[in-house]
Chain length 330, copies 2
């Protein structure tokens, strides 16, 4: 008898058996792991942070991309959700994963997907507590829900609260994920080291969990992640106020190999899973020293001011963008 | 200017504005509501129960069904997840909702979907704490994650732990959801009152939250929901043991209007969001009295025994099923 090859051949119970090694067993922190029961049960924390995010085939990824790999896809599913916890300064605790998969999908690919999910979760001390598997006739649709904790209801990053005169800073380097996406969509295999790093930033991003916690511990209270593009995220910092911001294009920490003319890659549709924050200049210096200790650059790129709108200072020119950030329903 | 009609016309920010009235605002129990920030934040409970479940268009529902309605679809999305909390005896607290929608979908339908989600959540004192909206080129794919609480880590319903001689009981009446699905798939509009009730059981099921809690409070510790079919759920109660069970077909509490010959509707692929439990007979009587008080019937339908396999006693005949429960990847 040949081994089953696709989900439809293996059947639901067979699939559950084959993926069960990637799901966490009950432990001190996880009282009931969901595969055996209807839900997962764990000992809770006093302040809980929770987020959910979905990736859809043909919108967020394509199996045809050169070098596409299901294990990296699983890691990315966790990374985009972990980034939302990082954006609040929270520590990950438990994940629930709901996958809608075609019956024609090879079982080995599903195994690699779960392996990536589990390894990314465990890297950030997060359990894979439970989940759901559904059949679909359409694109693969992958949802994760992450539950984390905060030490206090006062010590977290929020979008609101920035004041005029505060400086705006971003972690890491920008533009790599957008450059990687262009390369993937062109169908070209990455040639140089820089190109490989761009593609890796798109396919296998690193959530800034430690940096988020270090920002909160440094007393930063205004921030978020910039997965929808730096420009859109700066907008959110001043939304509902009369404030605006100036971003210094020349200060943007572009990824290695990007030319300064390519700064728009760092500003719109960027999908860099970096953090943004705003604080008085002296407070930001404290945060910069804290992030130096964990080897994450924190670069001041602009200032909150009392003129509405987001303006980009590019040498002598002031520019405004027409459109900022990714639009899901174009 | 005419009003925008589809998601693509309205754009993501417009959609968020139009659905924001259905998302909960920060309150004593919900410190941060996600739409404005990267994640939701709430004051946690000491024992947490969490589950996630997805509905996929063309697999779990069809827009072409007679009487299909997006508000009921939203209610159903919450009901199937609430049922998993009921199955553990837990109390709902917070929901996160991740929807993958086509850009061609009318905005009014998305509004009705969210309205259904919110009204079902609020009916069970659950907040809609946050979520995610994605575009898709394929079937609508709707995921909810429910987080609830238990009073104690010892007082919950689990699949494991049934003993020989214990009786098996189910809440409510069975078979209506499967009968309703057949009617919907035939394209016929329900004619009689019974047929209307069957269709309602499929499109707009009621999760057994109060019954789940009453079972736990009565000292019942083994149980779950039967959304994958009674037969499959009885199997789960004895999985990994040498035990089996006899189900008395004549005792199955069939939904009104179903003929006793149609008992298979109550046993396979049933999708009745009722609860099953097992306990010593005296304990079950205590639970029956507790459920009487909330007007939910709890009917003994079989017995756990030491012979392996699930057997159905139908008058003088003993029958076994070849296949039990819904298979997602056929």
């Amino acid at each position: 008898m040949r081994r089953p090859r696709t989900l439809a051949e293996l059947g639901e119970r067979g699939i559950l058996r084959s993926i069960s090694r990637y799901l966490d067993a009950p432990s001190a922190g996880l009282l009931v792991a969901a595969p055996g029961d209807d839900a997962a049960v764990w000992r809770g924390d006093s302040i809980v942070v929770a987020t959910t995010d979905t990736m859809v085939e043909e919108i967020d990824f394509r199996l045809e991309w050169p070098g596409f790999d299901f294990r990296k896809l699983g890691r990315r599913l966790m990374a985009i959700n972990l980034s939302d916890l990082a954006a609040m300064g929270a520590e990950p605790r438990h994940a629930l994963v709901s996958l809608s998969l075609r019956g024609t999908l090879p079982v080995a690919d599903v195994g690699r997907l779960y392996r990536g999910i589990a390894e990314q979760a465990h890297r950030y001390r997060c359990t894979v507590a439970g989940g759901d598997l559904s059949g679909t006739l359409g694109p693969l649709t992958l949802t994760a829900t992450l539950v984390g904790r905060l030490g206090s209801a006062r010590a977290m990053l929020r979008r609101a609260g920035a004041r005029p005169g505060w400086v705006i800073a971003v972690t890491g380097r920008l533009g790599a994920a957008a450059a990687g996406l262009r390369l993937l969509e062109s169908g070209a295999r990455p040639a140089s080291r820089d190109e490989q790093a761009w593609v890796a930033a798109q396919l296998d991003p690193t959530p800034r969990i430690a940096a988020g916690r270090a920002l909160v511990e440094s007393g930063i209270r205004v921030g978020g992640d910039i997965s929808d593009g730096l420009s859109r995220e700066v907008e959110r910092l001043v939304e509902g106020t009369r404030l605006g911001a100036i971003i210094d294009v020349e200060r943007l920490p572009l990824a290695r190999g990007l030319h300064s003319k390519q700064w728009l890659l760092a500003v719109t549709d960027s999908e860099d899973f970096e953090l943004i924050c705003a604080a008085p200049r002296a407070r930001m210096r404290i945060a910069q020293r804290a992030l130096e200790r964990i080897k994450v650059p924190l670069t001041v790129v602009g200032t909150i001011d009392e003129r509405s709108g987001i303006r980009f200072r590019n040498g002598p020119r002031m520019e405004r963008l027409n459109k900022a950030g990714y639009e899901h329903f174009r």
